[in-house]
């Protein structure tokens, strides 16, 4: 008998603040694209899934409830990339114990940036470095909040290629929030829109 594969991420009547409870399933290799007007709560939804804001209902990783994980372990599995990345040391290198040099190259970053002070980085460089840093923690599900908002077309392409290569490995899936419908068309296997505090599939 073949056991049906459990979804990597599942939300059941998942609710935060005054939003309408939502349910979704994300299986291996799938990408859920989420659209919605500014201020519609897209970032909040990603934060809630990463368990960074209080939430009710159920969230599962491979059938195991979020409560079964320590919050830090859950966040390592469900890697959330905020729209504005966090940097707390003066230099870039200290922010990660093992920088993935291949990942840096794939995103068109010179390895020399690791020796730079954070203050020298452009917004786009921060965004790309933050993704490489997140991937080094080997998450299983990515929650990406406007990941290419500060990137030009060429770098956007590099990012999308990297994401597709990353997804081609087993046990990986992603949720991407974007204001770019064409990008979601390219990346997403399913799409939803967040409107009037409700997540609706389209």
């Amino acid at each position: 008998m073949i056991r049906p594969k459990l979804p990597l991420l599942e939300l059941r009547d998942f609710q935060f603040f005054d939003f309408v409870p939502c349910s979704l399933e994300l299986k291996e290799g799938e990408v859920l694209g989420i659209q919605g007007a500014s201020g519609s709560g897209k970032s909040l939804l990603l934060k809630a899934i990463a368990d960074l804001v209080p939430n009710q209902g159920m969230a599962f990783y491979k059938g195991q409830a979020a409560e079964a994980f320590g919050s830090a372990d859950w966040r390592k599995k469900i890697g959330y990339l905020p729209a504005v990345s966090a940097w707390w040391f003066d230099d870039v290198a200290s922010h990660c114990s093992e920088w993935d040099t291949k990942g840096l190259e794939a995103l068109g970053l010179d390895l020399d940036v690791l020796n730079w002070p954070v203050s020298r980085l452009s917004t786009g460089e921060r965004q790309r470095l933050a993704l490489v840093r997140l991937l080094s923690h080997s998450p299983s599900v990515l929650l990406l909040d406007e990941p290419t908002a500060s990137l030009d077309t060429a770098n956007r392409k590099l990012f999308e290629d990297l994401l597709e290569r990353w997804l081609s490995v087993e046990q990986r899936a992603a949720i991407v929030v974007s204001h770019d419908p064409a990008q979601l068309e390219r990346l997403a296997t399913q799409q939803s829109v967040l409107k009037e505090k409700m997540l609706v599939s389209i």
Partner: protein, 265 residues
């Protein structure tokens, strides 16, 4: 000790009156405030002097405990009033009172018991002024440290959440802010210790010398007091900063700024 007569005090008050007259003349509109403040300080200190005199005579440990409690609550209220953002519910008052208790009560208790060794150990003549000095001097550092940790956490919320998102524990995510807050809380006492005696004589030492005490004896008391204040401030600040940073997160390690409320101006 040279006793001060009412006439001496009247002469000193003439200075304040002169200042008030100058303020009136220059239209600084400070004269009213100045006179009220002068009268207040005179009346308050005179009353405290009278009350202390009675307490020193009564030697009742229960009255002493009651006075200590009132002093603690007033100090905690003062710490609270200096917070831009306070915790909702009893936490705000509790953190202030808890830190002040650690910074002042425990240290005063140890000093009375092991350094001074009076019979009884709570001899009001020593315990009341010591406790008052501890509360007054450690309050500043605690208020500063506590304000720093909540204010920084509020301003740097994205940074904290970004670190949490990378799987850091709440303790790690807030560690830099905590460290900075403890440093800020300890800065006043550190500079006090560094310049002690060089710029000005500390108040207690001045008082003892004016009252006819031996300056070297006075300095020994002052050193003891400074060390007590440093220890009290340090542990009080640590307690307040760690308790506050603990309360900023819930059991799932989420940053809960909704537990803070901004001060209404």
């Amino acid at each position: 000790m040279i006793s001060l007569s009412v006439l001496d005090l009247a002469a000193a008050s003439a200075l304040v009156l002169l200042l008030a007259a100058t303020s009136f003349w220059l239209q600084l509109s400070l004269e009213r405030q100045l006179l009220v403040a002068a009268v207040r300080s005179w009346v308050q200190l005179a009353l405290v002097g009278l009350v202390l005199k009675q307490i020193f005579l009564l030697k009742n440990p229960w009255i002493l405990a009651l006075i200590g409690l009132v002093m603690l609550l007033v100090a905690a209220k003062e710490v609270l009033s200096r917070q831009q953002r306070r915790f909702s519910g009893y936490w705000s008052y509790g953190i202030g009172a808890g830190s002040m208790f650690i910074s002042s009560f425990s240290i005063t208790f140890l000093a009375l018991l092991f350094l001074l060794g009076n019979q009884p150990w709570w001899e009001p003549q020593y315990s009341v002024p010591l406790l008052g000095m501890m509360l007054g001097n450690t309050m500043n550092g605690i208020a500063l440290g506590l304000n720093q940790v909540t204010e920084k956490a509020y301003v740097e919320r994205d940074l904290i959440e970004g670190r949490l998102a990378l799987g850091q524990s709440s303790g790690e995510a807030v560690s830099d802010i905590r460290k900075r807050a403890v440093q800020v809380g300890l800065t006043p006492i550190l500079s006090t210790m560094a310049i002690a005696g060089l710029v000005s004589l500390p108040g207690m030492m001045t008082g003892q010398i004016l009252a006819g005490g031996d300056p070297f004896e006075a300095s020994k008391y002052q050193v003891m007091i400074i060390f007590m204040i440093a220890g009290g401030t340090g542990f009080g600040v640590l307690f307040s900063v760690f308790t506050a940073s603990y309360r900023l997160f819930d059991q799932r390690g989420r940053l809960r700024l909704d537990r803070l409320k901004s001060r209404k101006f």
